[in-house]
Symmetry: C2
Subunit: 502 residues, 2 copies
């Protein structure tokens, strides 16, 4: 608790205190995503002898950025070559950082990773449903203005008509009426009607201008019953979610600059191309067996006193891991989400030049779910890259089942409903399906409440010499902050065990 109310919104309490480590105690870290690299960094600082085994030929894990010239290979055999112009990119994994992810922000700053604002909420973006407003997109500001206006009007009128006398005092009724009128921008009569006041929220039909012909013309309202039926209010709700609130950040130049910043600290500890096959332990230590993929696949082993394992659970559950039944059950119990992201490059930033949309997200009821506009490079003249779709769940499985070309084609077809310029301006695209990534087999952990109750404690409790870390071992699932906080928790636990168990 702080003096100003409840906590600041972060569970990060600063770098861990690992003092008193027995110098040279050996720790093997499996996986060089953010969780693994942070564990290696802090453990080495504390005096441990650390080595990191990584499956891929790169560090960073799901912290990735795709740029022109990159190759994406996926399970099923499809290969995509990214064709973006120099400087353009898409982040297929994490792409934004909330203000309250203080652990990640701390290490970004400590490791010299430059950050810039990520624009999340944009009042001028589009909301679209195939089932509402004749299938035409509406501006966020139009919809939000009308939704708030009608909502405020309903309560204001209900107060006037004494319908709420039973639930509030006369004093509160007066306050509620004032609140609704101010918040919703109602007229003096408490109604949401076409006119200057409503257009000062939703925008004018002829905007405010200069000179003798400068008078604005108010805009028509959307009908209340259509607003309420549309379902588009879910996208207003979206921006109020703790994880989606402003201010957000992104690394300058691509999310993988975070992974690179972490890797700079510990690159001498990482061995790439290690396909772990078994993790055994006894009273004396841990033995990790892996195929050395850079050395023709020869089986090798590493001995250590302790192991921090950050291997994603769908992969880990298929390995020979010598842990107790509770942890084994936990590893098997957590399903991973399927997610697909599409990066589409267009010859020009028509969303800025034609539609005055600078950053932010347009939402649609179509499977692509959203179109996100780049927060960087705004006002530049060259080609630009959109996030042309970001799916979770069933739509993601559908898209993952398509060829990469089909994914892009489908995204163009659906996106054209919101931006008719799509076909004319399209240059090239890439579709990244997380369920087809061999080293994670899904995008991130999707804990159910029931699974959390039954298995979370076991998953996060050190099993003799082995402790798990990663976003899956946190309450901040699917976010990089989860990897950071779980890693700090895991190495703190490991350290206590190593010192106390001496």
């Amino acid at each position: 608790m702080t003096s100003l109310g409840h906590a600041m919104g972060t569970d990060f309490k600063g770098p861990p205190d690992l003092s008193g480590a027995r110098h040279g105690t050996r720790v093997v870290v499996l996986g060089s995503g953010l969780a693994g690299m942070l564990a290696a960094y802090e453990l080495r600082r504390a005096g441990y002898a650390v080595q990191v085994l990584e499956y891929q030929n790169r560090a960073g894990g799901r912290n990735m950025t795709l740029r022109g010239g990159d190759t994406v290979m996926e399970l099923g055999g499809h290969t995509q070559k990214v064709g973006f112009a120099p400087g353009n990119y898409i982040n297929p994994g994490p792409w934004r950082i909330p203000y309250h992810h203080q652990g990640l922000l701390h290490y970004c700053n400590a490791f010299g990773v430059a950050l810039e604002p990520f624009i999340e909420l944009n009042h001028n973006s589009f909301l679209h449903s195939t089932e509402a407003f004749g299938g035409k997109p509406v501006r966020y500001r139009d919809f939000a203005g009308d939704f708030f206006g009608y909502t405020g009007e309903l309560i204001s009128k209900a107060v006037d008509q004494h319908k709420l006398d039973d639930v509030m005092s006369a004093d509160e009724r007066a306050h509620v009426k004032a609140a609704m009128r101010t918040w919703a921008g109602l007229g003096d009569d408490g109604t949401w009607t076409k006119g200057t006041r409503s257009s000062l929220r939703r925008g004018f039909d002829k905007p405010q201008g200069g000179g003798v012909d400068g008078a604005p013309v108010p805009s028509d309202l959307l009908p209340r019953d259509e607003v309420m039926k549309s379902g588009l209010w879910q996208f207003i709700a979206f921006h109020e979610r703790l994880d989606m609130q402003t201010t957000m950040f992104q690394p300058v130049g691509g999310m993988d600059n975070i992974g690179k910043g972490f890797a700079r600290q510990i690159q001498d500890l990482i061995t790439l191309n290690c396909k772990v096959t078994a993790i055994h332990q006894d009273d004396h230590g841990v033995t990790v067996t892996y195929d050395d993929m850079a050395g023709g696949g020869a089986a090798k082993t590493v001995q250590a006193d302790y192991c921090v394992c950050t291997i994603p659970l769908p992969v880990l559950s298929q390995l020979d891991v010598q842990v107790g039944a509770p942890l084994k059950a936990a590893i098997a119990a957590v399903p991973y989400g399927s997610s697909v992201k599409l990066g589409l490059e267009f010859r020009r930033r028509f969303w800025e030049q034609d539609d005055q949309i600078y950053g932010g997200i347009s939402f649609t009821s179509q499977p692509i779910s959203q179109i996100s506009y780049p927060s960087s490079g705004i006002f530049t003249k060259g080609p630009g890259v959109l996030l042309g779709g970001y799916m979770f769940g069933p739509a993601a499985y559908d898209f993952a089942g398509m060829t990469p070309q089909q994914r892009v084609e489908e995204a163009l077809k659906q996106g054209s409903k919101i931006h008719p310029q799509y076909r004319k301006e399209f240059s090239n695209g890439v579709g990244f399906a997380w369920s087809r990534v061999p080293w994670t087999l899904g995008c991130c952990s999707m804990w159910s409440e029931q699974a959390r109750k039954e298995h979370y404690k076991a998953l996060t409790t050190m099993d003799n010499r082995i402790v798990l870390a990663g976003e899956h071992a946190s309450y901040v699932g699917c976010w990089q902050e989860g990897a950071i906080l779980s890693s700090l928790a895991a190495i703190t636990t490991l350290h206590k065990r190593a010192v106390g168990g001496a």
Copy 2:
């Protein structure tokens, strides 16, 4: 009208078409704010012979930035020397640019003025009223979560209790109920109560963490009657105003980079230090008389065929201006607002480091009205400058009546209620009172509806050879976009007159 609904939110239709100008037709422009400089730029491009007379010893008008080493002199005799560290600044006049100010954005891009996002809405900033919640500030996210929650709950319950059956069909009632639950984040029972769901809006008491102790603890709600009584909902409404919606921009490095960008185009046309005393006209031309303040105050005259006058009305109304009665009355009819802005430099960015506030605005019921956090330099370690107060109206008159030292002291006293770190971290400050600026005598035009009806047409109609421009000659008053749009309207009118009246 566009194919996607009503207009884009801008009345800018591109650079003006001034083709067919009689080469060498002379235009004198009075004032080198944005309106005057744009008029000079476009008129010269069209072939007119332009000169600009400026009262100050600098171009830019109210487009200003204060940096360390700058001196502020004001009516009343007070002089302030700005003590900010290198790189820090405050914009005492305009400080942000809405996405729909397309005229200004167009010329910024045309003139090479680099822009960056201005962070307006910040869910983690504070809302504060001396009369609410025991005088303690609350986080925006806490208040907004509870205000939306209780509002949604009121309607959801009213629907359940059939109180709204008379105003909507059964179908719409079902939609409204679903809308309220989703938008407001209500529980399955339609209530706003303490728990995971409400804390996923307003934040947890113990935030979501990692590892075995990662479970979050929900936060307490603010009581509904206090929320409704607090008046703090006005600050939620603030962000929904068309002019305050996201995405917003600011020039990199200070607002005066716009003025400098404009001045670069036409600096050879500007004569500084000209105190205009009279503007006369007859059938043959315009004669402007001014005191040459750089030349000992000697009276001089300029002859031209036409005049674009951008002198702020409180100054213009005191000059000898030869125009008809309607324009004279209009010039006298428009009051200017008083405004004060305070720039406070602190030794470190405690709002970021202690409070996790990155850009955006905290609001208070106190006279300082708001504290705005810099959108640039986020995460830097050195001293930072806050907008420590921004007052309009009565509070501005109060602050303008104080000495600069008193203004800063008062801002520290009030700001300490929101940020207890103020006193300890304070370094230096500056208080800029627009009512004490001799060349504008107020910050900007404050048209009443009545004055608009009676005088706007006359103010914006060309009076023989003289046409007015500036934010006061627009429906976008107090914004730079008003200066841009009115300038374009004025020179289009002038051009028609010059070509047609040949």
